[in-house]
């Protein structure tokens, strides 16, 4: 998976920010981008782990 460029990170932040109605000031962008890169690195580590189709999430609702 190729690392996105700064520009495409900004496009992603703008697009998701609009969907979620989050006001994002330009000054916050570098820190948000840095956090997003760390969080997605963590998420990727989880994503790379192979799980069975039958794997239940930990958050199981009890009726």
């Amino acid at each position: 998976m190729a690392e996105p460029s700064d520009e495409s990170w900004d496009d992603y932040i703008d697009a998701v920010g609009r969907v979620l109605s989050l006001p994002i000031e330009d000054a916050w962008r570098p820190a948000i981008r840095a956090n997003l890169e760390v969080s997605l690195k963590m998420a990727k580590l989880v994503d790379e782990f192979s799980l069975a189709d039958e794997a239940e999430p930990a958050s199981v609702f009890t009726a």
Partner: protein
């Protein structure tokens, strides 16, 4: 005085609850100018409660095991009459809480006296004990150093000897980190053991509440009175309370103990390695057990935390982004942007990892691991150098706590009084086996290996020591 000693003295009328309460309030007045551990003191309410305890004793009525014991709570616990700030500026605009948190009610039902609410990292998304709104809570052994977070005020207040017991929360390490940095005992019980009713959440999937103390007996005393089902917390267990105070002196007989290997033996400063080896030597433990996929467990805990945290605060991020600590805001905004399948996978991985670790507990009763990779860093310190590599402090403080709370295992953080600064070690047991971890902690205390050092960072007149 320990909580046990205060309760015994009050019950036998050698000391009144009012005297014990006034003494705690005087210590707070004398020392908290340096420590900055309290955000609110509740002197009026505390004295009224203490008078009621004394009146019961005078009338010959039975009193609880914490009669007259002063305690304080992280300011994410609801305290009747105060807005529950949870370390934030925004929450100060909330209406005052109508009712105390469940655990405060249980502590006070046992005779304890609430004396105030404690500083914490904003919305508990923190490992440092720093707070941009209230200033940092400070380390009682060196006020230029961090108390640890996010229950920093809890660590500072107990480590500084202001109160014998404090309550805090732990989502990824927020009881164990301040315990380690401030040199005190902390219990993060099994997920679901203690009610979180009327406390401000961070990550419902991972949030735990628990006590801090200066001895294992006090930790057990507080834990015992707080146990029990509570329909007001959906995650709280229906199991009957399992009191532990009477089991502490059972010692190590029959317990199989091993060191956690792999991830837990990496990224350690020499102090952390020394603390673990002192514990291992005292317990005569040599076996090392690899916890499978612990680094990935930490990553999954990170993903669940940042996304659930973002969801919790989404409306506040929309309407009051300028009122957050900018560092917390920017982490939460990034958390809102993690694709949903990755979160679902993290929750599925959580169940897989739980099954692997439960398998380990068939052959061992206790795992030993570092609580933090380092002693308390300097307040404001952004990086440290480990094995020649410069690493960010904040992101790495919780690397050894996160894979454990991720699956809700009970842990006692025990303080190892190294010089010049203490550091903690995690005593980890299987789910619902708090008594096992506490027995080992008690044995280490009896052996003199684990102890809460007297605070050296504050003097009675409130000035800093040299």
């Amino acid at each position: 005085m320990t909580a046990s000693a205060i309760a015994a003295a009050v019950a036998t009328r050698k000391l009144t609850a009012v005297e014990a309460t006034d003494a705690a309030l005087a210590r707070i007045a004398a020392r908290d100018g340096v420590l900055n551990s309290f955000t609110d003191t509740t002197a009026q309410r505390a004295r009224a409660k203490a008078r009621a305890v004394d009146a019961d004793i005078a009338a010959g009525k039975p009193v609880g095991p914490l009669a007259g014991v002063p305690f304080a709570v992280k300011n994410l616990f609801d305290v009747q009459g105060l807005p529950t700030r949870a370390g934030s500026r925004i929450n100060r605009d909330r209406p005052a809480a109508m009712r105390d948190a469940a655990l405060i009610e249980r502590m006070e039902a046992a005779g304890a006296v609430l004396v105030g609410a404690l500083n914490m990292g904003e919305y508990a998304y923190d490992f440092t004990g720093e707070n941009v709104h209230d200033g940092p809570s400070r380390n009682p052994h060196d006020p230029t150093r961090m108390s640890g977070g996010s229950s920093g005020g809890s660590g500072s207040a107990v480590g500084g000897g202001l109160v014998p017991i404090a309550l805090g929360s732990d989502t990824n390490g927020s009881i164990r980190v301040p315990s380690s940095f401030c040199g005190i005992f902390g219990l993060k019980p099994t997920y679901g053991r203690l009610s979180r009713a009327r406390s401000f959440p961070f990550v419902m999937s991972l949030d735990h509440l628990g006590p801090f103390a200066r001895s294992v007996e006090d930790l057990a005393l507080a834990y015992d009175v707080m146990q029990g089902p509570d329909p007001d917390d959906a995650a709280c267990t229906a199991r009957a309370p399992q009191p532990v105070s009477g089991l502490l002196s059972q010692g190590l007989e029959g317990l199989r103990i091993a060191l956690a290997g792999g991830h837990f033996q990496k990224n350690l400063f020499p102090e952390a390695a020394e603390a673990v080896s002192r514990v291992a030597a005292a317990l005569k433990v040599t076996e090392v057990i690899e916890v499978p996929e612990a680094a990935r467990a930490r990553a999954a805990a990170y993903v669940i935390s940042t996304t659930e945290g973002a969801s919790l605060h989404l409306d506040r991020l929309r309407t009051r982004p300028g009122d957050f600590d900018p560092a917390v805001r920017d982490r939460l905004i990034a958390g809102a942007m993690i694709p949903a399948p990755m979160v679902d996978r993290a929750q599925k991985f959580r169940r897989w990892y739980r099954a692997q670790v439960l398998e380990l507990f068939k052959s061992v009763d206790v795992l030993i691991a570092p609580a933090t990779p380092c002693i308390a860093p300097k307040i404001g310190q952004a990086t440290f150098v480990l094995d020649g590599v410069e690493l960010p402090v904040r992101a790495n403080i919780g690397i050894h706590t996160q894979p454990i709370s991720f699956i809700g295992l009970p842990v006692v953080a025990v303080p190892i009084p190294l010089e010049p600064m203490p550091i903690g070690v995690q005593i980890i047991a299987a789910p619902w086996c708090e008594h096992v971890a506490l027995r080992v902690a008690h044995a280490l205390q009896q052996l003199g290996v684990a102890a809460a050092p007297a605070p050296r960072g504050v003097l009675e007149n409130g000035s800093r020591s040299a």
